[in-house]
């Protein structure tokens, strides 16, 4: 195959008092020089001293997911970090295994062993990705002595078409960062526009975006921490391209990117927020970007966070979420799929409320919610297994057991169903009923029929 995605090194330019890094991707269909513009993305950021050099890894990171989606290798005309190229072999195979249809291909570039140089006068620091959520605050609290800057990627997990809400979100984060005493580095990007041209959902691209931002800032912040949303056990179910192996795979000779927090459960992290007053004043868990409040308090993420805070005894202290959890909101929320580790969190909530707040409206609501969810799950599982089971040798015995259970319940709750379902032998069933009623005494039955008729007219 001769087609290539050409990832040229990013162009740096001034943008007001900051800088703009523009990544352009080109599509080269054959061996010749012709190429078509594939897409571009920009990163707006500001450093104390303007960067003079941005590694080509930024462009390669942005090109990798289109490469996987289109099944075309990426080519870079300048040398790329050897460490990153070696990581890509593994990262590509992982993406290919997790997201059907993605085909991992090598990056065609010469390896480079020399790290990027920071401009003189720029003091290297340690960055921590910060979104104002539980994981971010936890990581910040545990690594506070090492971190010098907070990093926020504006345009990643929020809708690009809500500029007002985005600006408010950034302002709120700056206020929160101010309370921690750390400066907030905002990297504004439209990477999501480029991503959405190739595939949905966003979760297949978010890792590449984080990698690109990390590599962009690496001459200034050579050490960076990303707060993990999953524990070690949960990370065995790849939920997005922000898996820790993919995030850490973005490391280069210049950049050391590490995930933090995988050993700590979500509930433990929430409980730790009690030690961070600023976190409870500025906690942001919601992705809905409402202009008038930080968290909507209606979506699954908000409700889950509220329940976690309630269990930790911190909900009354949280200034960004209501202090009362309406049971009807819990009743109406759509739970994550049972294969998602967040579903396990809801099971934990139900267990806790049933044990420690028995009989409370929330406990009752959660129990019913989980029961329905479990019923749906069991039903779906049996449905798919049932189709296969009917072809197996073990089917007759299992069918009888299940059929007995179904018929027994229906006989108590839904006898009309019984009559409908015996359609096939309705006449025989009715005949059996008739004999049960009448025997050889039709006169008695006639009297009872008249009684029924009489009651109907009353």
């Amino acid at each position: 195959m001769n087609a290539r995605i050409i990832a040229e090194p990013p162009e740096l330019s001034r943008d007001g008092d900051g800088q703009l890094a523009t990544v352009r991707l080109w599509w080269r269909p054959g061996r010749g020089p012709e190429r078509d513009f594939l897409g571009s993305t920009t990163f707006r950021f500001r450093t104390p001293v303007p960067l003079t050099e941005v590694g080509p890894e930024v462009s390669v990171s942005m090109a990798l997911t289109p490469s996987l989606a289109l099944g075309v290798p990426v080519e870079c005309p300048v040398p790329v970090s050897r460490r990153f190229l070696r990581s890509w072999e593994r990262m590509g195979a992982m993406m290919g295994a997790w997201f059907p249809g993605m085909k991992p291909l090598p990056v065609i570039a010469k390896p480079r062993d020399v790290p990027l140089e920071a401009p003189s006068g720029l003091e290297p620091g340690t960055g921590c990705y910060f979104s104002g959520g539980v994981d971010s605050w936890f990581t910040l609290s545990r690594l506070r002595s090492e971190i010098t800057h907070l990093i926020y990627m504006d345009g990643f997990d929020m809708d690009l078409e809500k500029p007002v809400a985005r600006r408010l979100s950034v302002d709120r984060l700056r206020t929160a960062a101010g309370e921690t005493g750390l400066p907030l580095v905002v990297v504004e990007t439209d990477a999501r526009c480029l991503a959405s041209r190739f595939f949905e959902p966003w979760r297949q691209y978010v890792g590449a975006g984080k990698a690109a931002v990390g590599q962009l800032l690496s001459p200034w912040l050579p050490r960076q921490f990303a707060a993990s949303s999953y524990s070690w056990n949960e990370s065995r179910k790849p939920v997005s391209s922000a898996h820790f192996l993919l995030v850490e795979g973005a490391s280069t000779e210049t950049l050391e990117l590490r995930e933090h927090g995988m050993a700590t459960s979500r509930l433990s992290k929430v409980a730790a927020l009690g030690e961070i007053p600023a976190a409870l004043r500025h906690l942001r868990v919601c992705w809905d970007m409402l202009p008038d409040r930080i968290n909507c308090a209606r979506c699954e993420k908000c409700l889950r966070s509220m329940l976690e805070l309630e269990i930790a005894g911190l909900l009354p202290s949280c200034k960004t979420l209501p202090h009362v959890i309406p049971p009807e909101s819990v009743r109406d929320v759509k739970l994550p799929d049972h294969r998602n580790h967040m579903h396990d969190a809801w099971i934990g909530f139900e267990d806790w409320f049933r044990n420690f707040r028995p009989g409370s409206p929330l406990a009752v609501c959660l129990t019913e919610k989980l029961r329905r969810s479990e019923a749906d799950r069991w039903s779906a599982r049996l449905w798919s297994a049932g189709k296969e089971l009917t072809r197996s040798n073990g089917w007759p015995a299992l069918a009888r057991a299940l059929g007995s259970a179904a018929i027994e319940t229906a006989s108590r709750h839904d006898p009309a169903w019984m009559l409908r379902k015996t359609r096939r032998s309705a006449e025989q069933m009715k005949e059996a009923l008739f004999w049960q009623l009448a025997g050889n005494h039709e006169g008695r039955l006639i009297r009872r029929i008249f009684q029924c008729w009489w009651r109907r007219d009353q």
């Binding site: 593994r90 195979a93 290919g96 295994a97 997790w98 070690w232 056990n233 990370s235 065995r236 179910k237 192996l245 995988m262 050993a263 019923a375 749906d376 039903s379 599982r381 049996l382 449905w383 297994a385 049932g386 296969e388 072809r391 197996s392 040798n393 073990g394 089917w395 007759p396 299992l398 069918a399 009888r400 059929g403 259970a405 179904a406 018929i407 027994e408 319940t409 229906a410 006989s411 108590r412 006898p415 009309a416 019984m418 009559l419 379902k421 015996t422 032998s425 025989q428 069933m429 009715k430 059996a432 008739f434 004999w435 049960q436 009623l437 009448a438 025997g439 039709e442 029929i449 029924c452």
Partner: protein, 463 residues
Amino acid sequence: MNAITILPPQIRSTSGGTEVIFVARTPDGDARVRVAHSLADPPAIPPGMLGDAAMALFLLPAMRLAVPLEIQSPVSAGLLERAAVLQEIFGNWYPETFKAAVTVRAPVAAASTPGNARGCFFSGGVDSFFSVLKHRATLDRLVFVHGFDLPLSKTALRQEVASRLRAAAETLKLPLLEVETDVREYSDRHLHWGSHFCGAAMAAVAHLLSPWLGEVIIPATTTYAHLEPFGTHLYTDERWAGDALGIRHDGMEARRIDKMRAIATEDAARCHLRVCWENTGGQYNCGRCEKCLRTMANLRALGLLEAFPVFSEPLDLGRLAAMEVDHELIIPFLDETREAASAAGDEALAGVVRRCQLNHEVRILARQLTPLREALPEAPEWIHKAAPRFRDAILEACWSQDPGWTRQELSRHFATDPDAALNLLWKHDRWWLIRRTAFAWLRRRLPRRFRRSEATPPPADSP
């Protein structure tokens, strides 16, 4: 004593080799672990070699016993740092087994750099052959360990296995290094070999080979799509590395069936493939155990079973269908086999594999049904409320499977109360009821000679 203390290991030169003996003072008494191999005269001994091997051997047992670990030999700085992460990982995966992190105390070894030579663990299995063939050009040595999946007591079997693996290595033109260890005599008391310890044990052996090898490859058991906790794992194997030794967990990009397809072209693999751990009757590959059965199924699905004359018995489909799936990692292997068999038009094999999977599914569902049965009579309520279409589908399936039984079961539950029966018929089919009653009444009053046939009730056992 409430700690595990690893004394400085004894290194002895034996005839044509080296023997390292670790002595550990543990809460259960002294433990002794021996590792011997046939290399001698090491070019240089990395400062952290013994401490790193001790860390790999005893960190998990210390966690299991929840006691601090003290190693009296120097340990690589990198491994000391990663020990905390390893504890996090195992503690998160197996919270019931590893209840808390333990303190590790050891002097820090002077920095060293790894050599250039590369080795690969080689058990003769599918994963081993795949990694060896993939890295053939850059490998310097294959490493086979007696005492890992092959008990030291089975001397005859060990001799056969060793001789066949030597032959395979000769065909591959790579020297085979045989290592012997009794580590499982200690580890099996506290840990599960497959789920917990096999990766750490391989790392320990690899550290003791670090004077000769700079990097060792551990062939992967699973793919990236299956990251379930296991003793040898992408997250953990590479973290056991030290300053003088790199460890690479290799081969996750290929499914087992793809690996088999890849190794089928190699004579050494076809003649000496070894997958069996149970070795029933001392056979090289018994052909009866779960591993042999699914390997043979894979090979048959690929049309390659005849090309691998390494199994003692032919593939028994009945045995395959009855095979118990005892680990969730086996499920993807069965999926791959079923897909390949269907693609190859081998519906007999695909059907058998499907049956095996369904039996597994039924066992899981039965386990889930047990608490439901205990909660009876709630369970039927739940069934009734939860899945009306499930109830419909079950009944339709029952009708098609066994109409006689279904009719009997329905009639058994069908309106046993006469009032309910009357209400039911009155509500849903009153004109039929009236016609039928009138007909029965009139018929009884007709003279016998005018009756065409006696109206008789249906037999008691069928409505």
